[in-house]
Amino acid sequence: MNLLGLLVAVPLGFMVAALLLRGSGRWLILAAAPVMAGLALWLALLPPGTTLLVGNWDLPLGILLRADGVARLMVLAGALVIGAIGLHALVDPPGGNDGGAATAETFWPLLYLMWAGANAGFLTTDLFNLYVTLEMVSLAAVALAAMGSLAAALRYFMIAMLGSLAYLLGVALLVANYNTVDVTLLAQVARLDLATVMALGLMTAGLLIKAALFPMHGWLPPAHAAAPAPASALLSAIAVKLGFVILLRLWFEAFPAITGSAALHVLGGLGAAAVIYGSIQAMRQDRLKPLVAYSTVAQVGYLFLAFPLVAGAVEPSSAWAGMTLHGVAHMLAKAAMFLAAGLMLKAAAGDRIADLGGLAQAMPLTVTAFGLAAVSLMGLPPSGGFTAKFLLLSAAIEQGAFLYAGVLVVGGLLAAVYLFRALSACFAPLAGAGPDTASRGPVTGGVKAVAPLALAGLAIVMGFAGTALVDVSAIEVPWATPTVIQPEVAP
């Protein structure tokens, strides 16, 4: 079993171990985090063209794991994020609202399950296999959401199931039509007919639910609102990204020939709407976690707004890099923000933004982490968010897509509006912040702020490593292969 397989197998192993060890299973993260980070780093540095055929079956039947640029970046970022979340959960155990040790114990296997599913999803090119990973991640995500609010989790579960089934229906159509579900093979045989388009539509719609793109984001804010911070972080950073990556595989690798510009603009338009809508809703929230959750809704919009920009570019690699890096930067920053928000809410008198007063003094490191993450989310330099937005904005302006450019620009401003509202509340004085300041929990020490701070710091540092990341993202991009068919050529 080579490295690619290990990336999936090792977390599964840890999951089993965590299930077996129960109470003391949490200490496994001390081993898992460095191991996975090492593996992911190794993956990122591999020479291009590394693949693994699981079980050594040939393609239509076998499952291909392949380390292209997107996969490398996502796996690496995922390893860092999940590892950091795990380590954070060690020092700040996630107690659900139901409380009790049971929820804390279920957290660990779920974390590893999601890890394995995400890695497999990022690496594989097999659409059915992707279905399985999607379900793994969804299951973990729903269970994590259930740590906060069962009702919200159930709602999430239902909607996610619906999405999965729509996706599966699409897969079924493709199997019937082409007798293969491998993306690379599909790219060679794809043709424009009703079944293919139907399949594409169904799979896309299903995946949009998973990716929480407006208007199918309804599950996300309630699921995040009540979940413990590490669970929210995993949901926003990882679960949402998997749907996005699969959509990338579908639209740019499997069917670039049949996705015309109109269809791309449907996605782009939804993305733009998501940016605006999510931002407006975030601005209206008076509690911290829904605010951050709606921020995710808005940020996901950018990922899809980039679709027409990638397809329309003469030299797509920079827009592609912008899209990919946005995904990575959002993973890092949003995870950091949720972890920081969790710490802040524990220290604050209540869960409203107005209750955050005095935190800037009480927990400067945590507020700093929140602030740095906010910088990246707003797309302010220097940060990964800025690099991504810079690339996307350049592409939009180059193509004369001023509507998208405008949304990119306005979205950043709106993000600034809502994120700085939360931040500036932290600077407000403590006095009179809440009716019962005495009930305020103990102020968290420095060690708890390490994970969010590290993640936010990474999001910032990403801004300086732009060139390297762009290079990685360009590994095995779909249009670099000879089978490339320029999307514009499509009818």
Partner: protein, 492 residues
């Protein structure tokens, strides 16, 4: 040293910032020592660089931060002008801030962000590409915000919100502008201005408006100036260094770069963009002065005065003539030194005697003569009275305006001088000539070390602004340096 000198200038404040953030509040003396040490070291580095740059060396550090987009820190003469200004004033303000806050709360945070701001200002000065400029420009916005909101009361938070909404909107417009231009001509390097031939005039004009609009927010040009007076809720050292110098100057500096190093004066003249900008700057000059006249709060009056004065720089840049650009650029330095004097004095008055409103100034000169003497020098310089430095700028601007066939600008300058006199002289009158209120206790101005640290920086900058005027033609004086810059290519 050749390549790493610019990096060193950015790195030094970073060290100070890191140390400040890391040290707990109770180790304030360590923190102060680190801040002062770094500030002083940086001054030495700059002194060396001034010498080397005058000899014709250009220091450059380059890093490919995105494909085709280099992060370039380049120390040319113009950059060094701004760097020297900010480094010198940084040292002064650090001394001042240490005394001002003494042992207040949240000082680690304050000094950390303070250093980040200086880092950003230095970076803005040294930026060699439009993108680099934007990076540091934004960093400046971000690092300033916690300082504006430092006190944490409603007023400060409100001020911070307003500050952000203005500046972020501005930087977004600026970013859109430079990206648009980059999509047409590729990466923009200041050292090698892009070739703009063949681009429709309308496009160029729109891009120019976007960029100047974006930069104009920080430079507080007339309809975009609203944040500046609000931001006076910040503590005095912040108002002094950042609002009088770093932030507004970053905007003005960017406009200079846009006109001279991106578009080039030829293009700006061909497009007919100089005159409208000059007109806007003139409106700002007069409007700011009139508003200053109407203020009853000392710092607000100074703030509106800044609004007015910074537009001198833009006026000089937009008039496009040899004397005008010298006047504009030298005002960049002169206004900085004079305004920081005023703000530091205002802060000292508030700190020692609780004077905030203009009406409270009565008799301040008798109680704090050194402070008020420094304040007076700054105020007279702002009016443009010789031999304080402000006169030199005004003189060059006036002649420059005439060279550009814009005699009406001279009228603006004259009107502004009169308005400046109208709002500054009553302050001096109150401070020096009216008796202090009976209930104000007598104080000894320079009794303790802390008092001296609070007041002497202002005295030093006041003396420097006098010296910059009296010895305007000596080598390394701001005027001589600016003339070097102008001769080095801005006189085309």
């Amino acid at each position: 040293m050749m390549t790493f000198a610019p990096l060193l200038l950015v790195f030094l404040p970073l060290v100070a910032a890191a140390v400040s953030f890391a040290l707990p509040e109770r180790l304030s003396s360590w923190r102060n020592a680190a801040n002062l040490g770094v500030a002083f070291t940086k001054l030495l580095v700059v002194a060396y660089l001034l010498n080397a740059t005058e000899a014709g060396l250009v220091f450059e550090w380059r890093y490919e931060f995105l494909p085709d987009n280099d992060l370039v820190l380049r120390l040319d003469k113009l950059a060094l002008l701004f760097v020297t200004l900010s480094v010198f004033l940084w040292l002064m303000t650090t001394i001042y801030a240490i005394a001002y806050f003494d042992r207040g709360p949240n000082l680690s945070r304050f000094f950390g962000f303070f250093n980040l701001c200086v880092l950003a200002a230095t970076g803005v000065a040294m930026s060699g590409t439009a993108i680099t400029f934007f990076l540091f420009y934004e960093l400046l916005t971000l690092a300033t915000w916690p300082l504006v909101a430092h006190k944490g009361d409603d007023k400060s938070l409100r001020a911070g919100r307003i500050y952000l909404s203005y500046t972020l909107a501005g930087s977004v417009a600026f970013l859109a502008g430079i990206l648009w231009l980059q999509s047409l001509v590729g990466a923009i390097e200041f050292a090698a201005p892009p070739d703009l031939t063949g681009i429709p005039a309308l496009t160029l004009t729109l891009i120019f408006i976007l960029c100047i609009g974006g930069l104009g927010v920080k430079a507080a040009i007339f309809p975009l100036h609203g944040w500046l007076p609000e931001a006076m809720a910040a503590p005095a050292p912040v108002s002094a260094l950042l609002h009088a110098v770093a932030v507004v100057k970053a905007g003005a500096f960017g406009i200079v770069r846009m006109i001279y190093d991106v578009y080039g004066i030829g293009t700006v003249a061909d497009l007919g963009l100089g005159l409208p900008l000059a007109a806007l700057a003139s409106v700002t000059i007069l409007y700011g002065s009139v508003r200053a006249l109407m203020q009853t709060d000392l710092k607000k009056r100074l703030a509106y005065s800044t609004v007015s004065q910074v537009s001198y720089i833009i006026l000089g840049a937009s008039l496009i003539g040899p004397y005008a650009v010298i006047g504009g650029l030298v005002h960049l330095v002169h206004q900085g030194i004079m305004k920081i004097t005023l703000f530091m004095c205002a802060g000292a008055l508030a700190n020692r005697m609780g004077i905030k409103a203009i009406a409270d100034l009565d008799g301040a000169g008798r109680l704090m003569p050194v402070t008020m003497a420094a304040f007076s020098v700054g105020a007279l310089g702002m009016i443009g009275l010789p031999p304080v430095a402000g006169f030199i700028s005004k003189w060059y601007l006036g002649i420059g305006a005439l060279q550009s066939d814009a005699a009406w600008v001279v009228a603006v300058l004259a009107g502004s001088s009169l308005l400046n006199a109208a709002y500054f002289l009553p302050l001096l009158y109150r401070a020096w000539l009216l008796p202090p209120p009976a209930d104000r206790p007598a104080i000894r101005e320079l009794a303790t070390t802390r008092d001296r640290m609070l007041i002497l920086p202002a005295a030093v900058t006041a003396l420097v602004s006098l010296g910059a005027g009296i010895f305007a033609s000596l080598p390394f004086s701001p005027l001589a340096w600016v003339t070097l810059i102008a001769e080095g290519g801005y006189l085309r």
